[in-house]
Amino acid sequence: MDSAASLAGTAAAGAIPRRRRNYARQYWWFVVPCGAVVIATIIFPWVFTLYMSVHEWKLGGGRSWVGFANYAKLVEDERFLLSILRTLYFTALSVLIPMVLGLLAALAFHRKFPLRGLARTVFILPMMATPVAVALVWTMMFHPQLGVLNWLLQQVGIPPSMWVYAADTVIPTLVMVEVWHWTPLVMLILLGGLASLPIDPYEAAKIDGATPLQAFWHITLPLLAPFLVVALIIRTIDALKAFDTIYVITQGGPGTASETINIFLYLQAFAYYNLGYASAVVVVFFAIIIALAMVLLWTRARVKDA
């Protein structure tokens, strides 16, 4: 009797983990169809790009194994190296400005005020708008003679700018469009962060007679640091990848003054049809993105420790 009960008990105890394990394996079937899609559309291109990058590969023409010749050529390709510098210049500005503005906006929208919901929705509209459509409007606004922006500058007494039509102003101008587009994403991430902050430290600071500025500097910023780093990483990656607006507004011009890595890559692949060479660009570009992301992640770990 006793032993039978204990036997049943062990059987039951043994059965549960085995059933659990079975479940775990069964859950694979939820992932498999999607996994197949991901392999076909995402992982296959990654692998195939590596394969192509060691070939001389002309569209419609032949292909031949060239080893690392494409990479060797890239290192000496001045146009490519300059495109890296331009990308870094564009990225630095397109990260810093949205971070500052996004933080200010998040602090503003964290406060309660009339029509806050509407104002916040209007503020995030740029990031949801179709980039090509918006880029067209910007292009019209940048027109040196007829554009509304130069008229606005004139009203406040600033000399007109050539905007995207001169080599030295084209990148800052494109940064302006990028900032307009993506500051809302930074704002949203930081707004989520602000909503999750505890109230206690602020009450303690108030009792101790801290000014709002002190509270911001010594409480809000440190607590918000993880969210700032997330926003920083996402913004950096997106700025490196920026393509649509640059392509629509300038196509890399005037000359090659706004040719970033992505534009260079596009031209190599789909204007000159150097598919092997373009694949090598993809690999190097990807390495640059990963490297920067790693540096930022490392910063995040440092921030967490501190």
């Binding site: 479940y23 069964q26 859950y27 694979w28 939820f30 992932v31 169809p33 999607c34 996994g35 899609v37 991901v38 559309t41 995402i42 291109p45 990654w46 195939f48 790009t49 200010l104 503003a108 005020f113 104002a119 916040r120 929705t121 209007v122 995030i124 509209l125 740029p126 949801m128 708008a129 179709t130 980039p131 090509v132 459509a133 918006v134 067209l136 409007v137 292009t139 019209m140 606004m141 007829l146 509304v148 008229w151 307009w180 994403l185 949203l188 707004l191 996402i234 490196l240 990848k241 393509f243 649509d244 392509y247 890559l265 596009y266 692949a269 789909f270 993809v282 570009f285 990807f286 993105i289």
Partner: protein
Amino acid sequence: MRKLRRIAGNIGFGFGVLMLVSPAILVFLWMLSLSLKTELDNTDYPPVFIPNPPVADNFLAVFERNDFLTYAINSVIVSFSATGLAILFGVPAGYGIAKMKATKAAVVILIARITPGLSYLIPLFLLFQWIGLTGTLAPIVVTHLVITVPIVVWIMMGFFEGLPAELEEAALVDGATIWQAFRHVAMPLARPGITVATILAFIFSWNNFIFAMVLAGRETRTLPVAVNNMLTFEQISWGPLSAAALLVTAPVLLLTLLAQRQIVAGLTAGGVKGG
């Protein structure tokens, strides 16, 4: 005195908020203004701000020329298919990953988010040529999955992880299969998450430019590609150009206004973005 300072502070704050939202408002209003004015007013200097009287000619011109309707239908087909397929594949996958705590699968999704959209295009472009699919909408739908699937998987993964497991466990104890537990217990609970994922996947697929630009032929262009082509061919006719741009982006702007709460929730959680 203190009251006065508070009022001044509030006015300053209001002014600050106005400064924050005005760039967005100004660009969209200018788009609207350009699309409602005659060509004469559009090229006038100093600029005419308020259309007087507003004219619909530009919108009519867009529909008359350029097969705009064909491109609109293409865009609808592509975005709906890419979103629907992503939900079909991505929701169960998000569930499976959450249940198995398969963080390695999540890393793939993250790297997909990091990779530039262009880098998928070269291999896929060749692939479609070999299979002989060029000239149809199929390649465009497939490439849009590169955007929509990671968005859906990422959002659903987070959502299912946040659901309490007790209800499904109760269903399993009562003899339901895991598929039934998913279909009848977890899925209904996850409906808000599915809504968010659908909206975001749709918007980023609708907005996508680069995939269709490379893969589309004359007949298979999506709206962003068609509008960009208008720019290259009709440099100075600003009215029809703005009208077309407005028509392209109006659906997503309306969707944003209607579903702003879901969109904010989804974007805050994931920091997702397509392309």
